[in-house]
Amino acid sequence: MRGDLTTPSGRHISPIRVVRRPVAAVVLACGLLAAGAGVAGLAAASQSGRPAVPLGRAKLVPVPLGRQAPAPQPFRRKVARPTRLIIPSIGVRTKLIRLGLTSSGALQPPATTAVAGWYTGSPRPGATGAAVIGGHIDSQQGPGIFFRLRVLHRGSRVYVRRANGTLAVFKVTAVRSYLKTRFPTEAVYGPAPGAQLRLITCGGTFDYGTGHYLSNVVVFATLVPRGAR
């Protein structure tokens, strides 16, 4: 009979049954291909994420030398404007640019992520009140000037060099993280006795939808006047 096949043992097989074998082979081949592609894709996709960039080692920054600023005078006297910020324990040494406010009234971030800035609406560092300095935690590529700010701790020293060469020395009293939606404006920017400092950067979870961090890290510090430990 035409179209009919016979097995070596002489058994008779119908054409339909014969066709099944290549189909099964093709199914097997396609299945293996798909599985392979799936596994490869899985491997690629699992590699596409990225863990947080580790803190690593901070650049070595020596403790600056200079005449230490005294406690602010109760009878107001102007202090020199801030020019540089030095935090040896986290390897920060930067010039201070001047910051204003954004059109929406928020603190203006520095134009580059490599420098920090002093908010000109706040008291000068070393004068009575809470001086405000802001800096980026990171750029899109990597760490910014305040990348390690969150690891400062109570007692860490922060130095602000001023235009007349004097140093306002601050000691950290608290490091806090606040959700931006619950930012304590009064505690950070409101009236404060003595000479104090607030260092502000971002932190917490990064929202890839909005391109912003959800929290702010705020370092609270207070002046160590000349003669004090």
Binding site: R11, R20, A24, A25, V27, L28, G31, L32, L33, A34, A35, A37, G38, V39, G41, A45, G49, R50, P74, F75, G105, A106, L107, Y119, G121, P123, A127, T128, G129, G134, I137, D138, S139, Q140, Q141, G142, G144, F146, F147, L179, K180, R182, P184, T185, E186, Y189, G190, P191, A192, P193, G194, C202, T205, F206, H212, Y213, S215, N216, T222, P225
Partner: protein
């Protein structure tokens, strides 16, 4: 008050405290809730009292935390940040030994997050230490001012700032309440029975001031103390200070690839079964 009543109050206070703390959320760590810091400054505002040495002791500690030597009329120390708790301020005659009996002493209870001025006031015959509570918040966009009348020559001093009367006919040692005024250039005038004086100040918004009226030779002196200062314009909310370059990034979704792999494996398994099924024809041959 009986013991049980005070215990009841304590329990109530604890409940209220816990509620308040839980409402504040995680923003304030427990450590600062248990023991915070306050602010303290010392002043000599007694015109006919000679210069003194002022000592600040933490309660129960015989060693002075601060010693201010030769403090004379009109001198005010900078604020000192101190752990919350009880303190003793002692005034001794100039250059008297630290162990000598003080001329005057007072106890101050410093609460967390509060500021105090402890001032020696009154005539030398009736010198007293007054504990003044200093405000630390101002109405948004305003300057906050108060007056301490420390002139002994004049017994009724009226102090005004522009059109606002800060205090009327203030007696020696009187302290007014804080009042909100518009920030900007301000002429503060003090007018007594026979003497007067004035001083021009530049007041900043969100800043708190104390004006002290003092005796000066033949006239009144207005001294301006800057108690607390904030940002002139308070930034609203948080700040955008990062672009995410160091944040962990979630990977591409794994599920589609997992599905593809599973489907492929299933298909391959099916194909294999089919093939093996064909390779054993004996089972099905009839």
């Amino acid at each position: 008050m009986t013991l049980s009543r005070s215990a009841g109050r304590l329990a109530k206070l604890t409940v209220v405290l816990c509620l308040a703390l839980s409402m504040l959320g995680f923003a304030i760590p427990a450590a600062s809730a248990s023991k915070g810091h306050g602010w303290l400054r010392l002043a000599h505002l007694s015109p006919n009292t000679p210069a003194l040495d002022v000592y600040l002791y933490s309660f129960g500690d015989p060693h002075a935390r601060i010693v201010l030597k030769h403090v004379s009329y009109g001198m005010v120390s900078p604020y000192e940040r101190v752990p919350a708790g009880e303190y003793t301020v002692a005034m001794r005659a100039m250059s008297a030994t630290a162990t000598s009996k003080p001329v005057l002493s007072a106890t101050v209870n410093v609460a967390s997050g509060r500021a105090y001025t402890v001032a020696g006031m009154g005539p030398v015959s009736g010198l007293q230490l007054q504990v003044l509570r200093d405000r630390l918040t101002a109405p948004r966009g305003k300057a906050l001012v108060r007056v301490i009348q420390a002139s002994m020559h004049q017994t009724a001093v009226t102090v005004s700032a522009a059109m606002t009367v800060l205090g009327r006919k203030l007696k020696f040692t009187a302290v007014t309440r804080y009042q909100a005024v518009k920030p900007g250039d301000l002429l503060v005038r003090a007018v007594g029975e026979s003497e007067h004086g004035s001083e021009r100040f530049k007041l900043a918004a969100n800043t708190i001031y104390t004006f002290v009226i003092m005796d000066d030779s033949g006239h009144l002196k207005v001294a301006g103390l800057e108690d607390s200062a904030g940002s002139k314009v308070m930034p609203s909310g948080g700040a955008q200070m990062g672009f995410g370059g160091t944040a962990p990034r979630p990977g591409a979704p794994l599920l589609p690839w997992l599905g593809a792999a599973a489907a492929g494996l299933l298909a391959a398994a099916g194909g294999t079964i089919r093939l093996r099924h064909r390779r054993r024809p004996a089972l099905h041959a009839r």
